[in-house]
């Protein structure tokens, strides 16, 4: 089998009934998420269609500048998601500063490492490799960073009395924040650990599934997937640690005080996760 099965509009429309089913369940059980499900589904369709068009153009051109523009846009979008997810917001766009720094550093470092060592396309920035790679790495970075950021910001609010009790006894801030930081990083790394343990047995990873559906040899697809998992694990870990440490720095000061005055009062969020 070397041909790929081409999907038509009708095939997609059939599958879309499943989204309506989700919305129907939400409506019937009064879960209140039907609007979110429908909006998310619509958003997904539009986003992917735009991506398809843009990638077709960029791949055809092979211009480094266009590739860079796409990558920067992807990083911006991922950083925005990371910044928006925590309930707690740092004043002065603190969430955005943390998200931008962590997402771009972890994402770019991981992708460049992969392009220069394992994959080595020619030229190394070839959009067909750089862009999808950045996409999947950013997915992992987004998870790791947003969970860790949320974990620290939420953790310091919840554990405020305990942290300050320890500070008041002369405990260094590093030690007083330790439990919150460790828990946040640990939670940030759980998704990738689960993903690795489940890979191949409970789930076929998305990339591999795509390659198999597209007609690639299974062993080739598996090797790609193993490489990707390593990259994702590294990127998640770096992103989770980076986000947690940066967040810890943002809610404290050089006199080792807990500065929850830098958090804005939480506003209710409308958007689905």
């Amino acid at each position: 089998m070397n041909g790929t099965v081409h999907l038509g509009a009708f095939d997609l429309a059939t599958a879309a009934f499943l989204i309506l089913l989700d919305a129907g369940i939400s409506f019937a059980l009064r879960l209140g998420v039907h609007r979110q499900v429908l909006v998310a589904a619509l958003r997904m369709v539009v986003q992917l269609l735009i991506v398809g068009v843009v990638l077709r153009v960029v791949f055809a051109g092979g211009s480094p500048l266009a590739t860079l523009a796409v990558v920067v846009f992807m990083i911006g979008a991922a950083a925005n998601e990371v910044a928006m997810r925590p309930k707690q917001r740092l004043a002065g766009f603190g969430n955005y500063r943390i998200a931008a720094a962590v997402v771009s550093a972890a994402g770019i470092a991981t992708v460049i490492l992969a392009l220069l060592t394992a994959i080595r396309p020619d030229p190394w920035y070839a959009p067909r490799y750089a862009i999808p790679l950045m996409g999947i790495v950013l997915g992992a970075v987004l998870n790791g960073a947003s969970i860790a950021l949320d974990g620290v910001l939420d953790g310091v609010v919840r554990e405020r009395a305990r942290i300050e009790a320890r500070l008041a006894l002369g405990t260094p801030l590093r030690d007083a924040l330790g439990p919150v930081l460790r828990e946040a990083v640990r939670r940030g790394m759980i998704p990738i650990v689960n993903q690795m343990s489940a890979a191949g047995i409970i789930t076929l990873p998305g990339i591999m599934t795509g390659q198999l559906l597209a007609g690639m040899d299974p062993m080739q697809a598996v090797k790609y997937q193993i490489l990707l998992m390593f990259l994702l694990a590294g990127a998640s870990g770096v992103a989770a640690v980076g986000a947690a440490l940066y967040a810890a720095r943002s809610v404290s000061d050089p006199r080792q005080r807990l500065r929850l005055d830098r958090l804005q009062p939480a506003k209710p969020r409308k958007r689905a996760k």
């Binding site: 305990r162 009790a165 008041a168």
Partner: protein, 214 residues
């Protein structure tokens, strides 16, 4: 006893309270009174350098800024009105060295001998409050900032805590304590301060004559 100035505040202020200017002698027991929300806890928290502030606090004439924050807080130790616990058992909140010290003083506070092995969650508020005092004193601070340390105690417990604080003062501990009880203030204060609307009101100050409790 000679009048050594232990703790001083110079223009100590935040957006919530102040500025405060005062000197407290070594071994003094200042009881701070005033309505809720007047800034009493804010004052104690600024003195412990837990809240951002302008101005400065000094111990033995040395500014807080000349030492690390943990070092300052170990010397000028703040105990919140509702002390928090971060380990499961009561004893886990004490270092090994402090554990023996605290164990030897349980009876004096009317606490049962095995209480350090107990789960903090099952202890009464009053038991936790007395344990928190031991936790604070075990670290041998020079100045102890207490926020309503006897609020959850029965009269016997209050008397025991006051007796222990008096013993520590005799060994040189300086105490600033927020209390809503005028009787308590009369019993233990060398000076009574009144904080009103974020300021130190001129209180009916008795002479700063150490040891002359009325």
């Amino acid at each position: 006893m000679t009048q050594v100035i232990r703790l001083s505040a110079r223009q100590l202020a935040s957006s919530f309270a102040g500025p405060f200017d005062f000197d407290v002698e070594a071994g003094a027991c200042i009881v701070i009174q005033g309505p809720s929300g007047a800034g009493k806890s804010v004052l104690l928290r600024m003195l412990a350098d837990l809240d951002p502030h302008s101005g400065e606090a000094l111990i033995d004439g040395r500014s807080a800024q000349t030492m690390s924050a943990p070092e300052w807080r170990a010397r000028v130790l703040y105990q919140a009105a509702e002390p928090a616990w971060w380990e499961a058992s009561a004893g886990a909140h004490f270092d090994d060295a402090h554990l023996a010290w605290a164990g030897a003083r349980l009876a004096a506070l009317g606490l049962r001998a095995d209480i350090l092995d107990a789960d903090v969650q099952i202890l009464s508020t009053g038991e936790r409050q007395r344990l928190a005092l031991l936790r604070s004193l075990a670290r041998e601070p020079q100045v102890l900032l207490l926020d309503e340390p006897t609020a959850a105690l029965d009269p016997d417990g209050v008397a025991r805590v006051e007796a222990m604080l008096a013993d520590c003062r005799a060994e040189g501990l300086t105490i600033l304590m927020v209390s809503h009880s005028p009787e308590q203030a009369r019993r233990i204060a060398t000076r009574i301060w009144r904080v009103d609307d974020g300021k130190l009101a001129q209180a009916p100050d008795r002479p700063a004559d150490d040891g002359e409790a009325a």
